[in-house]
């Protein structure tokens, strides 16, 4: 069963009375427990896709379903990890993580268990009572991911989750995410500008055209990963050094470059 399905999705924006197409017929499905990366040139509408799945926006035509149900507004079944973290600065780390569970009416003792489990998973021990401003960017994003994970969501939607981090922290977080996904696999749809991040993390990579966005091609990374045994390498830099990895990455770059030529105003 597919967890996330975009069925012939169109999205138009109106500005000054004129209508602009942002998405021009998106068909995409993310299978259960699959990780799909969405890449594309700036302004292609990938963020819009994510927001449609999250329920922050509504498609003009077509529909988006998650877990078989059409999306009707945001909710904890489609947990979002924002680029700018969006943690509540006035709550401690553990209160931030527990907040969604409180909304669901989860009993206090169960809450505590689940929260400490995910704190352990994300390597946040010792920081439970800290406030976000006291944490580095990487740590804050861990909290944001923890907050999403603890909800046990149908789908995890990540909007450039590592975009606000410096390059080195970013790479460390990518490694982390792979480790966590092995322990606790989930259905994930994420957006990124970094092509090697997409290839490293995803089972499939969907490349979008420039605006108005459509799915240009989808690459099956999992097949290559399994065939070339990327998982036998612990370190990210070793994986990124492999010829098969480089090959995929270059292919995607070239595909994106085609979209950038004749860049729209």
């Amino acid at each position: 069963m597919s967890a996330i399905v975009f069925e012939n999705v169109y999205r138009y924006f109106t500005r000054d009375g004129k209508s602009f197409p942002a998405l021009d017929g998106i068909d995409l499905s993310v299978a259960d427990k699959e990780v799909v990366a969405l890449v594309g040139p700036s302004g292609c509408g990938k963020t819009t896709c994510l927001r449609l799945a999250a329920g922050f926006e509504v498609p003009t035509k077509g529909r988006v379903t998650v877990g078989g149900q059409p999306v009707d507004g945001p909710g904890p079944d489609r947990a979002v990890v924002f680029q700018q973290f969006a943690l509540f600065p006035w709550k401690s780390v553990e209160d931030n993580i527990a907040f969604g569970l409180r909304n669901q009416g989860v009993a206090a003792s169960t809450r505590r268990e689940r929260v400490s489990a995910v704190i352990k998973l994300m390597g946040l021990e010792g920081y439970e009572t800290a406030y976000p401003h006291q944490l580095s960017g990487g740590m804050q994003q861990r909290v944001a991911i923890a907050r999403a994970y603890v909800l046990d969501p149908e789908a995890l939607l990540m909007d450039e989750p590592f975009g606000a981090l410096d390059a080195q922290t970013r790479i460390m977080m990518q490694e982390e995410l792979v480790r966590i996904a092995r322990v606790n696999p989930r259905t994930v749809l994420f957006i990124t500008h970094a092509v090697d991040e997409a290839v490293y993390l995803a089972d499939r990579v969907a490349v979008m055209t420039r605006r108005p966005g459509r799915i240009k091609e989808i690459l099956d990374v999992r097949k290559v990963r399994n065939a070339e045994r990327w998982n036998h390498h612990e370190r990210i830099e070793d994986v990124m050094d492999l010829e098969s990895f480089v090959h995929l990455r270059t292919h995607i770059w070239r595909s994106l470059r085609e979209e950038k030529i004749g860049v729209a105003p």
Partner: protein, 271 residues
């Protein structure tokens, strides 16, 4: 002398530099005090019928503290004034902040309420005094009404701005986490807007004091403004000065109190 405008320049690094600054600061105050004493008591350059000497100031203070002036002691008048300020401020905040939240959150509510607000807002708070006296006489109610109008406006405006300034991802995250309406208000909107709300409250408190003193000056039966008024009519500059000093001290004290409440209400801010 070369300009010293580097941003770090006001954080003097060296101990001698900091001591010099303290010295200059206290020095200027001391010089002024000495000049005050000298010009009024020693040389008679300033006539004490116009501007009181330090001695007269001290004597008037003693008078109003012990015997009393304008039908009350200093403590009595101070309590009266403070009581009214606190009451008016509380009502203004109690109505203004929720209204500001409503108008900040709902564009519809803002469009509906704004016109009325725009009519009320430009009217300087002190201009309400004659109307308040007409409607409610010279008692406490009139003062509270005027204080309300003065404090209400900054409370609403700053709360509204505070709510509008909340970054959209915070609201979206709250919705994503399935936050119910009341919890959204109490655990997301209010904490997020809290810094600006407190700014509004600070301005409201300032406005409240100004308006209260003015209202009591125009007509009152008790309070520091009354002291000022009577002292003026009695041509008693020393007592005027005592009144002003009292107003200054109370204003400072209530502001500090609010600042302390602000600090405690927002423990998560990096201080």
């Amino acid at each position: 002398m070369t300009p010293s405008t580097s941003p770090g320049a006001h954080r003097s690094a060296t101990l001698p530099a900091r001591l010099t600054r303290r010295f200059l600061g206290t020095g200027s105050v001391l010089v002024l005090l000495a000049a005050w004493a000298g010009l009024t008591m020693v040389t008679d350059t300033i006539s004490t019928s116009r501007f009181p000497s330090p001695l007269q100031f001290w004597q008037s203070t003693k008078q109003i503290v012990t015997v009393g002036y304008a039908d009350g002691t200093l403590v009595g008048h101070a309590l009266q004034s403070t009581r009214l300020v606190v009451l008016g401020f509380a009502v203004a905040a109690g109505i203004g902040v929720p209204l500001g939240v409503l108008m900040g959150w709902s564009r519809r509510a803002e469009a509906l309420i704004n016109p009325a607000f725009l009519v009320i807002r430009p009217i300087p708070p002190l201009a309400w005094i004659p109307l308040a006296i007409l409607w409610l006489g010279l008692g406490d109610a009139a003062k509270i009404m005027v204080i309300f109008f003065a404090a209400f406006v900054p409370a609403v405006i700053n709360t509204l701005s505070g709510i509008r300034a909340i970054e959209p991802p915070i609201i979206e995250a709250a919705r994503m986490l399935g936050t119910g309406r009341w919890r959204l208000l109490s655990e997301v909107l209010l904490p997020a807007a809290a810094p600006m709300i407190f700014t509004g409250l600070r301005l409201a408190l300032q406005a409240a004091w100004t308006t209260l003193v003015a209202a009591e000056l125009v007509g009152a039966l008790a309070g520091l403004g009354r002291v000022l008024n009577m002292a003026q009519q009695d041509i008693y500059p020393a007592m005027v000065m005592v009144g002003m000093a009292a107003v200054g001290v109370l204003g400072w004290a209530t502001t500090r109190l609010l600042a302390e409440m602000e600090r405690r209400a927002m423990p998560w801010l990096a201080h």
